[in-house]
């Protein structure tokens, strides 16, 4: 294996993501080639430096502030009534509300009669408002129980499959064609909004917004053969404005490999 091929593989080699045969060949080359060994040492040292960064703790009270903000914005998720009354808490709350209403009517009977006489016959009794979901006792944040599973460190969930990774439609063409090699992922200008929703959301995992007219539109990323720098800049601007998942930075948009979202690693290596 020559130096050029080895150096293109050091990233995957360091993560042990080459085939066993290639891992061995790269390791053998590094034992015998001084310059490649120095390159790899520099690479590994740089990677170790990143890993040496300490994880900085956030300021305390983050959840309390967030919760207050959620409640202040009235953003508590409104569940379906079925979900609410299906829970014991929901039944308990609704029963308590009915009881409270009944008690208030009994206690306020004399006044209520006078009040009712003053009202028009069409006035409806006061409704229970402000119910936003089952409320449980709120423990302090330090008393919250731990969450099992779900930590991202080193986890490789079986549910994630490579076929589900791509969010970009592939260009047509036979496997060995230049079209497949130079697949470009660019927003198609003037394409109809497939799933209009807020630009800052991870839309691939969200259900469609029921009121598209109230939201800014997004455009799905499509593969394209465009290599015109001006059209790329326009399309970069569109991608930036819609906040789509493919990461863009205009400074690197001329890099031919930058736009490829489904490249065959073997072809590149």
């Amino acid at each position: 294996m020559d130096c050029r091929r080895v150096l293109r593989r050091i990233s995957l080699y360091s993560d042990r993501r080459l085939t066993p045969e290639e891992q061995s060949r790269v390791a053998l080359h590094l034992e015998t080639c001084v310059s490649c060994r120095q390159e790899f040492a520099s690479f590994a040292a740089a990677m170790e430096a990143i890993g040496s960064l300490d994880r900085q703790p956030a300021a305390p009270g983050g959840w309390d502030r967030l919760r207050a903000e959620i409640e202040a914005r009235g953003q508590v998720a409104r569940p379906t009534w079925q979900a609410v009354f299906a829970t014991p808490a929901g039944l308990a709350v609704s029963a308590a509300a009915m009881l409270a209403l009944a008690v208030s009517l009994v206690v306020l009977q004399p006044g209520a009669r006078r009040h009712q006489e003053a009202l028009s016959p069409s006035t409806s009794p006061p409704a229970v408002t402000g119910f936003t979901g089952p409320r449980t006792q709120t423990p302090s944040s330090s008393a919250l129980p731990s969450v099992q599973g779900g930590t991202p460190r080193g986890a490789t969930p079986a549910a994630l499959s490579e076929s589900a990774n791509a969010t970009v439609a592939k260009a047509d063409g036979p496997p060995s064609s230049p079209a497949r090699r130079k697949r470009m992922a660019i927003v198609r200008p003037n394409a109809p909004a497939v799933r209009p929703m807020a630009s800052d959301m991870a839309s691939d995992y969200l259900e469609p917004d029921p009121e598209p007219s109230a939201r800014s539109s997004r455009e799905t990323v499509y593969a394209s053969e465009s290599s015109d720098p001006d059209s790329v800049s326009r399309e970069v601007a569109q991608m930036v404005s819609t906040g789509l998942a493919p990461l863009v930075d205009a400074a690197d948009s001329r890099d031919p490999l930058y736009w490829i979202t489904d490249v065959d690693t073997e072809e590149w290596l």
């Binding site: 040496s52 983050g62 409104r78 944040s141 969200l206 998942a245 990461l247 490249v263």
Partner: protein, 205 residues
């Protein structure tokens, strides 16, 4: 008491704010650190972290559950960080980092030697400066891989590309980081600034 994450998510979707609080407690440290390394400023990272979880909560009832919550929240954090960078384009100098107390080495550092502490701090400042000097879309890959410890498959899901494409991007991202770090430190400085245990790994190469 422990909860299965999917159950927590469905509770949160049905309006249980405490369940969402548990999710916050689980993921906020990692999300905060991702954003901190992306933006380079602790105050900004606090604000943006709050914003990420606010937006997640707002859209929680539409979360399809066809991916892990971690993938979803990391993708939101990535997008919001990049949006913030595009909006503000901050330029953080090494001097600003030195003045920022958030770059202090973690408490209880086993390398209690003052000289080593200084070296460690210098390394961390150089690394953070290099991260901020590299393109943002490469920076996020490096942070997700080396600081948050996400697998290739998880990173690919977060950024929305195939694993094959990520193989290429991550290689380029790491090379971009190396180039960005070079003006601040050379390999020998890196080796001397690192905790003693890591020198063995380099010597084996």
């Amino acid at each position: 008491m422990q909860f299965d994450e999917s159950h927590l998510v469905s509770l949160a979707r049905s309006g249980d704010l405490d369940a969402f609080g548990l999710l916050y407690r689980q993921y906020a440290p990692g999300i905060y650190n991702l954003i901190l390394r992306m933006l380079g400023n602790a105050d900004d990272a606090e604000d943006v972290t709050q914003e990420v979880f606010l937006r997640a909560h707002r859209s929680l009832n539409r979360f399809k559950g066809n991916a892990r919550f971690s993938t979803w929240i990391y993708r939101i954090a990535t997008n919001v960080s990049l949006d913030e960078l595009r909006r503000r384009k901050p330029v953080v100098s090494l001097e600003q980092l030195s003045a920022d107390s958030s770059w202090e080495p973690a408490a209880g550092d086993p390398e209690g030697n003052p000289e080593r502490l200084m070296q460690r701090r210098a390394t961390q400042e150089a690394v953070q400066a290099a991260l901020l000097a590299m393109p943002a879309h490469y920076r996020v890959l490096v942070v997700l891989r080396h600081m948050e410890g996400l697998s290739y498959e998880e990173i690919a899901r977060v950024v929305g590309c195939s694993v094959n494409a990520l193989n290429v991007r991550l290689h380029r991202a790491r090379e971009a980081f190396r180039r960005a770090l070079a003006p601040y430190m050379n390999v020998e400085e890196l080796r001397s600034g690192l905790p003693s245990g890591s020198k063995k790994n380099i010597a084996l190469l």
